[in-house]
């Protein structure tokens, strides 16, 4: 019998019961909650007279609807304010281990605050009514997004009805080139396998390039696993994982810590484990990436040109490229570095952690945003990230460069609050989705790494970060 994959181990250690057809009741260790996808779930509990099965599995915050400026004025939009207040009421009634409401010092994006408080641990099952829950797979947890009905199910039963996914291995070996970040690795993988390439799969990321990534880099990578269609993205825990977690508020302490670390060491795929599919990528071939279309798979290395639909043989893909170019207002053959921008967004659950902000600040230090750039938003992922950045003086670097330094939240990743693009505006964004209308109706999004976004803000157009220092 072949050995087990890391996914097998995570799955099997949480099976409560399994039916003959493979339908499984999977135990859930951590339930992350935000205001947008949960009100109907709590209402369902209320209507059926049910309680939360284990309230101390819940970590909650308000992030999607919250403004990133003028916090003293509260939330101006009434429906948004009601939704955030409803979360306050729901947590008060049903309970939680951790709740950071709007304006709390540690409030932030749910996928940033979970890890930084040690509430995401290796070997856990983690769910949230949010597709970017895959982020937490960076710790060797089985983490994925669920719908609102499933949120109610987990609240009421601490389990999820699920069927095992296929196991895919994506192996990235070799040293990453200069200027190439976890974001570029993620985009290059999606460019290679497509936005449905991981559908039905739990993806394990492995190889020396993945091992070389920091925990924050691994979070960026696993965050984007969903953009490849994957159910979950996982990285095996190692010494870096333990070092990151040690001493965090909710990480194990004392004898539990030693026991936990010993257990975490077993959380890796066996040498003879069999995967349903394997993709191998050479790290040296990955260059800084820029998306040009309206799907994350429509991505190229920064040195590329906007593709020509007439060169595409597949009629479906040709139609898709044509539609994307029309929406994006781009002409086939245009070098990506010639694309001029209106706004820049540095933030989101993909790239709003301290290392992301440091990378952007290195580029912005002593520079000014181009006069053609209307606005550069820098939105830290949490109150903790914000304080750390301010302690390092990064806020000053950004403000001196003409960038705006905001309060934490999801912000212009999905534009549920006031931070958004106007129709036709073009944005370099460190977020995860370039779908039509994602950052505001008619808005045009190009996904890039934090350093590439900062460089674009300075230059007014995309630049190859590898030669940015030489140009300025």
């Amino acid at each position: 019998m072949a050995g087990q994959t890391l996914y097998d181990k995570l799955w099997r250690s949480h099976v409560v019961r399994e039916d003959a057809d493979g339908t499984t009741l999977l135990y859930i260790d951590r339930h992350l909650i935000h205001e947008v996808t949960t009100p109907q779930a709590f209402e369902g509990l209320r209507l059926s007279g049910r309680r939360a099965w284990r309230a101390n599995s819940v970590v909650a915050t308000a992030d999607h609807n919250t403004p990133t400026s003028d916090w003293d004025q509260g939330i101006k939009e009434e429906v948004a304010r009601l939704q955030v207040e409803q979360l306050d009421a729901n947590i008060k009634e049903f309970g939680a281990l951790v709740y950071f409401p709007f304006r709390h010092a540690n409030q932030g994006i749910i996928h940033v605050i979970g890890p930084e408080n040690g509430t995401t641990l290796p070997g856990m099952t983690v769910v949230c009514g949010d597709s970017h829950t895959s982020t937490h797979g960076a710790f060797g947890a089985l983490a994925h997004g669920i719908g609102t009905s499933e949120v109610e199910h987990v609240l009421a039963t601490q389990t999820l009805v699920a069927k095992k996914s296929k196991a895919m291995l994506i192996k990235v070996d070799g040293p990453l080139g200069k200027g190439v970040t976890a974001k570029d690795v993620a985009l290059a993988i999606i460019g290679k396998i497509g936005t449905a390439g991981g559908t039905g799969c739990a993806v394990e990321f492995a190889g020396s390039a993945i091992e070389s990534l920091s925990m924050e880099g691994r979070m960026t990578l696993c965050n984007m696993a969903i953009e490849a269609g994957a159910r979950a993205g996982i990285v095996a825990p190692d010494d870096k994982t333990a070092a990151y977690l040690k001493g965090l508020t909710h990480a194990p302490k004392g004898a539990d810590w030693d026991k936990a670390v010993a257990y975490w060491k077993t959380l890796k795929s066996d040498a003879d484990a069999r995967f349903d599919s394997v993709v191998e990528i050479k790290a040296a071939e990955i260059e800084p990436q820029v998306t040009w279309g309206t799907s994350p798979e429509q991505v190229l290395a920064v040195g590329g040109r906007v593709p020509d639909p007439s060169q595409e043989a597949d009629p479906q893909k040709r139609a898709s490229i044509t539609r994307s170019l029309a929406y994006m207002g781009l002409t086939a053959g245009t070098p990506l570095v010639d694309i001029k921008l209106d706004k820049v967004f540095i933030g989101s659950c993909t790239n709003s952690r301290i290392e992301d902000l440091r990378a952007a600040a290195v580029v912005a230090r002593g520079q000014k945003k181009a006069s053609s750039i209307k606005r550069v938003l820098v939105v830290p992922g949490s109150g903790q990230v914000k304080r750390q950045a301010e302690a390092e003086g990064l806020d000053k670097v950004f403000l001196d460069a003409g960038f705006e330094w905001r309060e934490p939240g999801c912000s212009m990743c999905l534009a549920m609050n006031a931070d958004r693009l106007e129709p036709g505006e073009r944005c370099a964004s460190t977020s995860n989705r370039n779908f039509e209308g994602r950052q505001g109706p008619g808005g045009r999004t190009h996904l890039v790494s934090p350093a590439m976004a900062a460089a674009a803000a300075i230059a007014g157009h995309f630049v190859d970060i590898r030669s940015f220092g030489e140009r300025s």
Partner: protein, 212 residues
């Protein structure tokens, strides 16, 4: 949840791949704390020429007649025929809520995004996976024939074309049972509450830090 057994209905073909949940129901409508009322805003940015906001009366909004859902021949459609990777993107269950509330009972596509696929079953909406060449043929037949209908029978697991051809499809037996009976997953799961408690006790003694 309402039960699903069989639908015979007009087909609306949405001829584009990777239709994401932002397209199905844009983010501004996610501010609602209700499960119902999303149908008028389904595909809002594609369907209307103006910008939609929650609570807006849609009866007099300017329609985008380039979007086929607005064409007279597709009014009253109950079967949504789609391309690969339908429902990709966010986990918002508002997407199947909007599709179901509009009046669709079935979505047929060569492939679906995982979370969207699961969400459909929680809402009496049946996602049917058929091979890409078959879907392609249905698209051609549908576009060529005004009033094109399909009959989708969950019990028999068939999609029947107007010519009488019955195309079989696969569905998870548990999901099929729940959908046909209109069963609530939570009540079913709570029948196993003792097993959950037993698992929890064992799990807690092995990894007490997970329960701290």
């Amino acid at each position: 949840m309402k039960a699903f057994k069989r639908i015979k209905g007009l087909v609306f073909p949405l001829d584009r791949a990777n239709v994401d949940t932002d397209a199905i129901i844009p983010k501004q409508f996610l501010k609602s704390i209700k499960r119902s009322g999303f149908g008028p805003y389904l595909f809002d940015e594609l369907r209307y020429k103006d910008h939609g906001e929650p609570g807006m009366d849609c009866t007099n909004r300017p329609l985008n007649m380039d979007f086929p859902l607005n064409w007279p021949r597709f009014q009253g459609a109950q079967v949504l025929l789609a391309r690969d990777n339908f429902g990709c993107g966010s986990s918002r269950e508002h997407a199947p809520w909007a599709i179901e509330n509009y009046g669709f009972g079935v979505v047929i596509a060569p492939s679906f995004a995982d979370i969207f696929f699961n969400n459909c079953f929680q809402n009496g909406l049946l996602p049917v996976v058929l091979p890409a060449p078959t879907v392609d043929r249905l698209f051609k037949e549908c576009l060529a024939t005004e009033g094109y209908t399909l009959e989708v029978d969950l019990e028999r697991q068939t999609v029947t074309t107007p010519s009488g051809e019955a195309i079989p499809f696969e569905v998870n037996p548990h999901r099929k049972h729940c959908l046909m009976m209109g069963l609530d997953d939570i009540a079913l799961t709570l029948q196993h509450a003792d097993e959950i408690r037993a698992f929890e006790t064992k799990h807690k003694s092995a990894q007490p830090w997970l329960f701290a």
